[in-house]
């Protein structure tokens, strides 16, 4: 996916940011396997149906162990957002400002995800605007979940 900020970069943020990796204990493996397939997955308890993200070994509602991974629609609405001007990481020194959004997924029990809103960092962002996921593959081998307005 080559959707960027209009400055020729293939990814929204420059290379050099920390890359996400599955936890050693395997609790979140299902999320990463789905992301590699360009799918979005969160936990959903097989016993009581509660959605859960980030992953945990137990359902916080009914205490059944090993909630299953459940594919969800890669769509949602902007629950909150921010424009970041101060780089907190060396790789971001040339990337400010940039936009971070909190997206509440559709039909997933209120689960939220954090990502960047693709396009002009100075664009006017609206609360509750509908967005869809963009799977941003990185040369290092990981996939980030980004968002664009629809």
């Amino acid at each position: 996916m080559s959707e960027n900020r209009g400055d020729g970069r293939k990814t929204y943020l420059p290379e050099g940011m920390p890359a996400p990796a599955p936890s050693r204990d395997g609790v979140d493996r299902g999320f990463y396997e789905a992301a590699r397939r360009h799918e979005l997955a969160v936990q959903r308890c097989q016993q009581c149906g509660t959605f859960q993200f980030p992953a945990e070994w137990i359902c916080h509602k009914c205490h059944a162990f090993d909630p299953q991974w459940h594919r969800v629609e890669p769509r949602g609405k902007i629950y909150s957002f921010e424009r970041i001007w101060h780089p907190a990481h060396p790789a971001l020194k040339s990337a400010c400002p940039y936009l971070v959004v909190v997206v509440e997924l559709e039909n997933a029990g209120g689960v939220r995800m954090v990502g960047n809103l693709l396009g002009d960092p100075m664009q006017n962002v609206r609360f509750d605007a509908l967005v869809e996921a963009v799977f941003e593959d990185h040369p290092a081998g990981h996939t980030l979940i980004q968002w664009r307005t629809v």
Partner: protein
């Protein structure tokens, strides 16, 4: 029976803060001596202020992963006996009042007689806050935020503040008023890092964005230094050098699933005091309008705003009316706030300096004294988990 059961399960008036001590406060990385030495200096000053011998101490408590181990402190000071050694879970400022509450509880329970609570910071000697470590891969909940450039407290608190402002029709004016109140109070406090550097609204508006809606002046300082307070029980407190600041109530904890990562906390905009504040006021047997002066931990102004709401000083929809410079400044504001300048303008000692200021208000020795202040509240934490609360009275 009810009354005696209540008496049994409270720390109200069972302990008091009887000594306060601070080192000089330095710019981040500017401390001329080691962090541990700063801790010792603050502790000795607090003992001197109280009029006790350092070897009278038999309890040690801290918070925020303080690096200065309790046993090293006890060993360095040659304490004859360490009876209480306690660390409050969690980083940041959430544990300041919690450490005081733990110390008071230890005294009430008979574990210890003189407990020191301390916090020392020398960031030059160790890492810096607010910077993302340069690592190649990360796992766990932070792996869902850091790769997107969302990694610091300023950034997550800005997201939650933005949503609160949207829900309750709050503008930048409320955040500016909080920042300006802190700076105004610092102008009468010679200890304050920002003493002699007043903040005007124009300066606020023109300062650079860190992350919208936070300008530079909405964000806490970073400093080196140390602070300490000493608590003792009802019987001893009255005979010491200073007027006791009685612990009227303390509370600590967290709301439902506030630790959910990647911004999945169910109550998204809470400062995390909704469950604590009612317990705090119940133990103190007072209402919010009985509070004379408040010290609210300012990591960022937005979280101060929501803390003011959750401690019952105004409604969410009433923020614009309540959070004004007039209302938040001593001596006559409705709720004089952070009267030493706080984390924004006095110094950033992870909020222990706010507790010391709450004591000064009760003693009548603040540089921005609220006339006849009797009830002095401290809120530690906001928008972290766990958080903690404290009420002192004269």
């Amino acid at each position: 029976m009810m009354a005696s059961a209540m008496d049994e399960y409270t720390i109200k008036d069972k302990a008091a803060i009887v000594g306060i001590g601070e080192t000089a406060y330095y710019k981040r990385g500017g401390a001329p001596v080691s962090e541990f030495r700063l801790a010792l200096e603050a502790i000795l000053r607090a003992c001197e202020d109280a009029g006790i011998k350092p070897t009278d101490l038999d309890g040690v408590a801290s918070y925020s992963n303080d690096r200065n181990d309790s046993v090293r402190v006890a060993t360095a000071l040659g304490l004859p006996e360490l009876r209480f050694s306690n660390m409050f879970w969690g980083g940041g400022g959430g544990g300041g009042s919690g450490a005081i509450g733990n110390a008071a509880a230890a005294i009430a329970a008979g574990f210890a007689t003189h407990v020191v609570v301390y916090r020392a910071l020398a960031q030059g000697q160790f890492g810096r806050f607010g910077q993302t470590p340069a690592v190649n891969t990360i796992s766990g909940p932070i792996a869902y935020t850091w790769p997107y450039g969302m990694s610091t407290p300023a950034q997550w608190i800005a997201l939650r503040t933005r949503r609160f402002m949207h829900d309750h029709h709050v503008t930048q004016d409320a955040l500016a008023a909080i920042a300006m109140a802190c700076y105004q109070h610092a102008q009468s406090n010679p200890r304050a890092i920002m003493y002699g550097r007043p903040l005007t609204r124009a300066m606020y508006d023109e300062s650079r964005w860190i992350v919208e809606p936070f300008h530079l002046y909405d964000c806490c300082l970073e400093n080196d230094g140390a602070a300490a307070v000493i608590l003792t029980g009802r019987d001893r407190a009255r005979d010491l050098r200073q007027r006791p600041a009685w612990v009227m109530a303390a509370a600590q904890g967290s709301d439902f699933r506030q630790g959910a990562g990647a911004e999945n906390l169910p109550d998204y905009t809470t400062s995390n005091f909704k469950t604590l504040a009612p317990r705090l006021y119940a133990m103190a047997e007072i209402a919010p309008n009985d509070v004379d002066v408040a010290q609210v931990y300012e990591n960022f102004t937005g979280a101060v705003m929501t803390s003011i709401v959750e401690h019952g000083f105004c409604e969410g929809d009433g923020v614009m009316e309540f959070c004004t410079l007039d209302n938040l400044t001593a001596p006559r504001g409705k709720l004089p706030l952070n009267t030493s300048g706080g984390n924004l303008a006095e110094c950033y000692m992870h909020g222990l300096e706010l507790i010391i200021e709450a004591v000064r208000q009760v003693r009548g020795t603040s540089t921005a004294q609220v006339p006849d202040a009797e009830i002095s509240l401290v809120a530690s934490g906001p928008m972290v988990a766990p958080v903690s609360d404290l009420i002192l009275h004269r």
